[in-house]
């Protein structure tokens, strides 16, 4: 840092050439450094475009259409484990070019949105067949089983950290692949703590009609219907422990899963009940990835 420390000229001081020259020389600063720069002096204008954001992409997956005229379908798996279905025609997902090297002081943020709906077409009601059936009081009619409607389809983010060919997509860290049985359930599943980069949407809507003031009358009909089109948001954030190069991102869908607890922990397990007519549809999707400096 450079600064001027010479004292002022006081009354009575002789005015001499040497002193005057020294004072003029003070203004010829030769060792200015960044400590001399005032607060706020340095900002985005002085920096390269990668000072905060290193890389970014936005890519369309899915069908690209927004009219729902020709949605694509994902079939339900009833004997596990479920096979993840890539949500793009080639299965190659989004390319990150020659690869993004995510360093330890950087963060990868991935956001995906997807238009989906759960479909149920069979006349067979799933309550009593699928998980999540409870018996409720119908007063005049006694009791009846109903489905609590907690079934979900899962959309998971996968990445390729092997090569630019994007032929080796795997699950992201802290994300289970639902290919093994979970805990004591005996079902293919994962604990809720193992769902990084995983989004869920309801498989169907479950309701009861004519619940007329349940103290005097009760449920006369149960209904399970598709959920209608909706947009779901998937997020994934990754701060690596060591440099990780990511070459591609893609989305996969599989289901249906239901809540379960093993007496201690909560999880999602594959429901293998035999109710037919349950599937999922999807339409357009966008995936946005940001590679940025952590600080």
């Amino acid at each position: 840092m450079s600064r001027i420390t010479r004292s002022r000229i006081n009354p009575g001081n002789p005015l001499e050439a040497a002193d005057l020259n020294s004072r003029y020389a003070d203004f010829t600063q030769t060792d200015l450094d960044d400590t001399n720069v005032a607060d706020h002096a340095v900002d985005a204008a002085q920096l390269s475009s990668s000072a905060i954001l290193v890389n970014s992409i936005q890519t369309q997956l899915g069908t690209g259409g927004i009219t729902h005229a020709a949605p694509l379908l994902v079939a339900r798996t009833t004997s596990g484990p479920a096979t993840p279905v890539p949500l793009d025609a080639t299965g190659l997902g989004a390319s990150l070019g020659s690869g993004w090297a995510i360093n330890t002081d950087e963060v990868l943020r991935v956001y995906a949105n997807l238009q989906v709906r759960g479909v149920i077409t069979a006349s067979t009601s799933p309550h009593g067949i699928l998980d999540g059936s409870v018996t409720v009081d119908t007063k005049s009619a006694g009791t009846t089983p109903v489905c609590i409607g907690a079934h979900v389809w899962l959309v998971q983010l996968q990445w390729d950290i092997t090569s630019t060919s994007r032929a080796n997509f795997v699950n992201v860290p802290n994300q289970g692949n639902f290919q093994s049985t979970w805990s004591t359930s005996g079902r293919y599943g994962e604990p809720l703590s193992n769902l990084a980069g995983t989004a869920a949407f309801p498989a169907f809507w479950s309701g009861g009609i004519n619940w007329l003031n349940g103290t005097t009358n009760g449920l006369t009909d149960t209904e399970e219907r598709g959920t209608g089109w909706r947009n779901i948001a998937l997020t994934f954030h990754f701060a690596p422990g060591s440099t990780t190069t990511v070459y591609g991102l893609r989305l996969v869908m599989h289901g249906i899963y239901h809540p379960r607890n093993d007496g201690t922990n909560n999880g999602l397990v594959l429901d293998v009940g035999s109710t037919p007519g349950i599937s999922a549809q999807y339409q357009s999707s966008n995936i946005l990835a940001l590679h940025m400096k952590e600080d």
């Binding site: 001399n36 720069v37 999540g132 609590i148 907690a150 703590s193 997020t235 809540p259 379960r260």
Partner: protein, 218 residues
């Protein structure tokens, strides 16, 4: 831009100590606080930036699960979560994180995760042929150091992922960020337990939550 600001020497001018002192005093302060217009192009690069000079990212990717109001008397095919035996509605704080080392500035705050709300939806027959859905919601809101900055009503029926976010200009200092939820209380004609097992029916749950905050310092 710093310039010779006090006096412009002129030809044949007598030298005056006061003139020189004023200029020197002006520079003693200003030479230490150069502004950006005095810097040559590319004089400062990102390589010279100290950590957190311009921005900072806080990432709490612990995928935290709600632990408040967790009932244990639920069937095996439901989650241990908030039921109407232990939670009857109202805003409560589900998660809290602290943003340490905040230098002040605009801050983007984002919570994402998995939520469950009332899978079974009874409908009243209040209008005979027009069924009236028993309206229930799970609301989420983000509170930054006591300041409500975003409130969201999720269109939930069952299990669904969420991503809610808001931005706020925060002063320097550590900040506590809270994610609060509010589930609609039980209706007077809503089934809340399995009558055959006496187990409660799951109502609300939050899991797999991640907090991301990005601050752009002033």
């Amino acid at each position: 831009m710093k310039r010779w600001t006090q006096h412009q020497p002129r030809a044949s001018q007598l030298l005056d100590s006061g003139q020189f002192n004023s200029e020197q005093l002006a520079h003693r302060a200003s030479i230490q606080t150069l502004d950006r217009t005095q810097l040559p192009t590319s004089a400062i690069t990102s390589a010279q930036l100290k950590s957190s000079a311009l921005h900072k990212v806080w990432l709490f990717a612990d995928r935290e699960e709600q632990t408040k109001f967790v009932a244990t008397n639920v069937p095996i095919d439901q989650w241990r979560c908030a039921t109407f035996i232990n939670y009857s509605g109202g805003y409560v704080t589900a998660f809290e994180k602290t943003l340490t080392g905040h230098k002040g500035g605009m801050t983007y705050i984002e919570w994402s995760g998995l939520a469950f709300c009332n899978g079974f939806a009874p409908m009243k027959n209040g209008k005979l042929t027009t069924y009236e859905l028993m309206e229930k919601h799970l609301r989420l809101r983000i509170v930054a150091s006591g300041l409500l900055i975003g409130e969201f009503q999720l269109l939930l029926a069952g299990t669904e992922s969420f991503c809610v976010f808001a931005s706020v200009n925060l002063p320097p200092g550590d900040h506590i960020i809270s994610l609060q939820f509010d589930g609609t209380g039980q209706a007077d004609d809503e089934p809340i337990k399995d009558v055959s097992t006496n187990n409660r029916i799951m109502q609300y749950h939050l899991a797999n939550t991640v907090l991301l905050a990005v601050a752009r310092f002033r």
